[in-house]
Symmetry: C2
Subunit: 466 residues, 2 copies
C-alpha cells in the first residue's frame, strides 16, 4: 500500500501525489509491473477524493509512468528504460550460434573465390562511376525482376556466351539462387512436387522442405538424370544441372537432353529447372547448348549466378523464364521488391556492357585451366597417383578422384581431418545413402594453394597406407 | 525417305552418308525433330550394311546433329542453334509487363528519397575504402544473419537511437523487409495465423497469401490496434506498427502497449512483429520505447529497415529476434545464405560506425521537419485550408488531411488524376472497404517539391468546388 504524508502540502494535492508516485517509480521503490491501489481504495485510505487520485493517475499515465489494463487497474510501467541504458553497451546473450567452420590447413572442399582473382580495382572504378553518374536512377525503385539495363546486359551475355536468345524481360534477378528458388516455388505452385538429382545439392532439399513442397530424388547414370528415375519419382518439376552435374561433373549428352525434354512435354504441368551454375568454365570442346535453347515448348526455366564467375559474396543470380511463366510472374509476383541493390545492379551492368566480364571470364578460365592441370599432374606424379584414378571432366571448378582403398569414406575423411586436411567424399552428396558409390572424393580448385597439394597428396597416401 | 546416290563415292561409305545427312540438316532439308529411317530400313533400301549406317549415325550423334530415343529411333536435333545466332540480337517477345506507373506532375503519394538527400560522396568514399581494405573479408561468405561487424554496428545504433539493448547475434539482416517476412514465416511456422492492422499495409496481405498462411485483420481505434480486434481475429501473431502506424500515423500509447503485450503473454504460441519502419523521424516529444524493450517474455520480434533512413533502393533491412527465436533461427535456417552483398554490408557498417549515419539522420530530420512545416503552412494558408483539416502527428514522412466534402474519395482521386496530380485516400488502405473512413488523404513529403504544393492545393480546392 502506498503511504504518503499529506501534512504541509503546499501544491495542489493531485500534483503532490503524482510527484510522490513518480519519484518512487524512478527510485525503484515501485517496480515495473507492480499494481497500484485502485483509485477508490487509495482515496478512502487517505481521506481524499477519488477525483484527486484520478487526476494524479492521469498525469502519470500521460507521461508513461503507469498504465492501466481494462477492468484490472493501474500498473507501474517499465518505459524509463531509456534512462537506464548505459552509455556504451554490448550485451552478449547466450545464443547458440551454428558451429563455426573448422579452419583446415589444406581444404580441398573450399569453393570460395581467391581474393587475388576478383577484379577489385575495376569494380571500384565502376562503382564510383555509377555513384557519380546515376544518382537519379539509383534512387528510383527497381522493378521486381531488376533494372532493364542489367537484364539487357545479361541477355546479351547469354547470347554471346551461351547462344541463348532471350528477351531481357524474361530475366529475373535476385539476391542469390536460393532466393530465386523461393520465387519459383511461388510461381510454379506449392502443389507441385520437385525432383532433384541423386547425388546432388543437399541444400535444395532443405529449401524445398522449408516451403513445404515435396522433394523427390532420381538416380543418375553416366549421362545424368534418367527419365526412368524422373518417372518413378512422380515429380512434376525436374531440378537439374545438365551442363555440369554437381558433384559428379557429368555433362548430359544431347540424346538424354531430348529424352528429358520429351518427359517434360508429356504433361502440361511438368517443368525443368536448368541450373547452369558454372557453365562459364568449360575448358575444351564446344559449349553445349542449354536445355532452354533446345526447348520449343516453354518447359525450361534457366538459372545461373554470378557466384562462380564473380563471387558468391555479391549475391546476384538470375533466372530466365519461358514467356508464359514470365507473364504469370508479372501478373502474380510483381508486387515484390527486387532483392538486389540498385548500386550493384548498375555496377554489374557496366561491368558486363564494357566488356570487363568477358575479359574476367577468359582470364579466370585460363587460370582455372592451369590450376586444374597442375593439380592433376601433382596428384598423378605423387605416390598417391598409383592409388587413385583422376576423373577428368572438361568443365567447372572441381573434379573427382577415385581412391583404390578398402577404407570407408568416413574413415578417410576422419583420418585426414586429424592431419588438418578437409576432403569431401562424393558419398556425402547422396540423398539416399544406401545408393552411394564409395571411394570418390571431390577436389575443388577455385581457391586452393597449388603448392600445398603435394603435401595433401602425401597425407592422403599415408592415410591409405595405415 | 532419305535417298542419296552411292555412285562414285571415293571416301568410306559411312563418312559419305554422315556428310550427306549433315549437310541436309544444316541446309534445313531435314528439320529438327524429324525421324530418320531406322538403320535396318536405310541399309536394306540402299543395299548397304547396317554397320555402315550405324557408324554414320554414331558420328552424327557424337557431334550432336541427331539424337536417339530408346525404342523409338533417331531424330534430327536442334542443337546447331549456336550458329544461327545473329551477332547482335535483342529479341522483344510479347511479354505483358505490369502497368507502368503513371508519371504525375505532382505526386503527393511519392515516398521515394530525393536524390539530393542521399549522402553519395560519403557512400562512394566508404565503398572505395571497403574495396581497398577489406579484400579478404569481401570474399568470405557471410553468415546467414549477416557479418558480425554490421550487426554490431546496428546493435549500437539501436542502443543509442532506440534505447534497445540487443546482442548483435539477435540481429538478422536481409535484402528488404519483404524477404525477412518470408524468413519469419518459416521461423514462426506456417500453421500460425497472422493479424495485421486495418487500415494497413496491403502488401503484407499479398506476401502472407503467397506463403499460404492465414492473414486476418484487426480494427484500430485512436490508440492503434485493439486487443478486442486481436482476440476476435483468433490470430496468433500480431504484425503491427505501434510507433507510427501506417498510414494513419497513430502512435500506440504505453497503456495499449501493455495490453497488447499482455495479449501475447496469454498463450505460448502468440508473438508480436513490431515494424518500426520510420522511427528515426520523430520530430518532437520523447522517443517512445519499443515494444521489444518493454517485453520481458521474448514475445516481440523487432523489425526495421534502412529504406526510410537511407534509401529503399539499397535493400537492407533487419530484424531483432528474442533469444529463443534466435536459437531456433540458427538451428533451423542457418543453411540459407545471407541476401545482402558483403560489399554493402561492410560499407554500411563503416557508415554507422564512423558516425555518418547519425549525422545523416539528424540532417534528414531537420530537412523533413522543414518540409512538413512548409507543406502544412501552405495548405492552411491556401483556399483549401478552409475546406480541410490537417491531422498532425509528430513522426514519420507523411501526414493526413481530412477534406470537408461530400464527394467520394474515388471521385476526388479521379478528378485530380485528370489534372496530373496523384493523392491517395486513406480508404484505399482499408482491408475491409466497408469499414473505411472517407475523406482522409495521405500527404507524403519525402520527395515532394514544396514549390508545387500551392499549385496542388489550388487544384484540390477547385476539384472540391466542382
Amino acid at each position: 500500500m502506498l503511504t504518503y504524508s499529506f501534512e504541509n502540502v503546499k501544491e495542489p494535492l493531485y500534483e503532490y501525489i503524482y510527484k510522490c508516485i513518480k519519484s518512487d517509480i524512478i527510485a525503484g521503490n515501485l517496480k515495473a509491473g507492480e499494481k497500484l491501489p485502485s483509485k477508490r481504495t487509495f482515496a478512502r485510505n487517505n481521506g481524499i477524493s477519488t477525483i484527486t487520485i484520478q487526476n494524479a493517475y492521469d498525469q502519470l499515465m500521460s507521461e508513461g509512468y503507469i498504465f492501466s489494463l481494462p477492468k484490472k487497474g493501474y500498473y507501474v510501467a517499465n518505459i524509463d528504460i531509456m534512462s537506464k541504458i548505459p552509455k556504451e553497451a554490448r550485451i552478449a546473450l547466450d545464443i547458440q550460434l551454428p558451429e563455426e567452420k573448422i579452419s583446415y590447413d589444406i581444404d580441398l572442399s573450399n569453393n570460395a573465390i581467391n581474393p587475388d582473382n576478383f577484379p577489385f580495382s575495376i569494380w571500384a572504378k565502376l562503382s564510383r562511376e555509377t555513384i557519380s553518374n546515376r544518382k537519379k536512377e539509383l534512387m528510383e525503385a527497381s522493378p521486381t525482376g531488376g533494372k532493364f539495363e542489367v537484364r539487357a546486359a545479361i541477355a546479351e551475355h547469354l547470347r554471346s556466351f551461351r547462344g541463348m536468345l532471350v528477351d531481357p524481360n524474361q530475366i529475373v534477378i535476385g539476391a542469390g539462387t536460393e532466393y530465386l528458388y523461393g520465387l519459383l516455388i511461388q510461381l510454379l505452385g506449392k502443389d507441385k512436387s520437385y525432383c532433384i538429382e541423386n547425388p546432388g545439392y543437399k541444400k535444395l532439399v532443405q529449401i524445398y522442405k522449408q516451403y513445404n513442397v515435396e522433394c523427390k530424388f532420381s538416380d543418375m547414370d553416366d549421362k545424368g538424370i534418367t527419365v526412368d528415375g524422373l518417372c518413378q519419382s512422380k515429380a512434376e518439376v525436374a531440378h537439374i544441372t545438365p551442363n555440369h552435374h554437381f558433384p559428379t561433373g557429368i555433362t548430359m549428352p544431347a540424346s538424354r537432353r531430348y529424352e528429358v525434354l520429351a518427359w517434360a512435354n508429356e504433361k502440361n504441368n511438368r517443368y525443368i529447372i536448368e541450373d547452369d551454375y558454372d557453365s562459364e568454365f568449360r575448358y575444351s570442346g564446344k559449349p553445349i547448348p542449354t536445355l532452354f535453347s533446345m526447348d520449343v515448348c516453354e518447359k525450361v526455366i534457366y538459372m545461373n549466378t554470378f557466384s562462380k564467375s564473380l563471387t558468391p559474396t555479391m549475391r546476384i543470380s538470375y533466372m530466365v523464364l519461358p514467356v508464359h511463366l514470365a507473364n504469370k510472374f508479372y501478373a502474380q509476383l510483381s508486387f515484390y521488391s527486387c532483392t538486389v541493390s540498385n548500386f550493384e545492379q548498375y555496377t554489374l551492368a557496366a561491368f558486363i556492357n564494357k566488356g570487363y566480364f568477358e575479359k574476367h571470364i577468359n582470364r579466370m578460365r585460363l587460370y582455372y585451366t592451369r590450376q586444374r592441370r597442375q593439380l592433376m599432374e601433382t596428384i598423378i606424379k605423387s605416390k598417391l597417383g598409383k592409388k587413385c584414378e583422376v576423373i577428368e571432366n572438361d568443365s567447372g571448378l572441381h573434379f573427382l578422384i577415385k581412391l583404390h582403398t578398402h577404407l570407408s569414406d568416413q574413415e578417410i575423411a576422419n583420418r585426414l581431418k586429424k592431419k588438418g586436411i578437409q576432403m569431401k567424399a562424393l558419398s556425402e552428396y547422396y540423398l539416399e545413402p544406401a545408393k552411394s558409390k564409395p571411394h570418390y572424393f571431390i577436389i575443388n580448385y577455385s581457391n586452393i594453394d597449388v603448392d600445398k597439394v603435394a603435401e595433401a597428396c602425401e597425407a592422403i597416401d599415408s592415410v591409405l597406407n595405415k
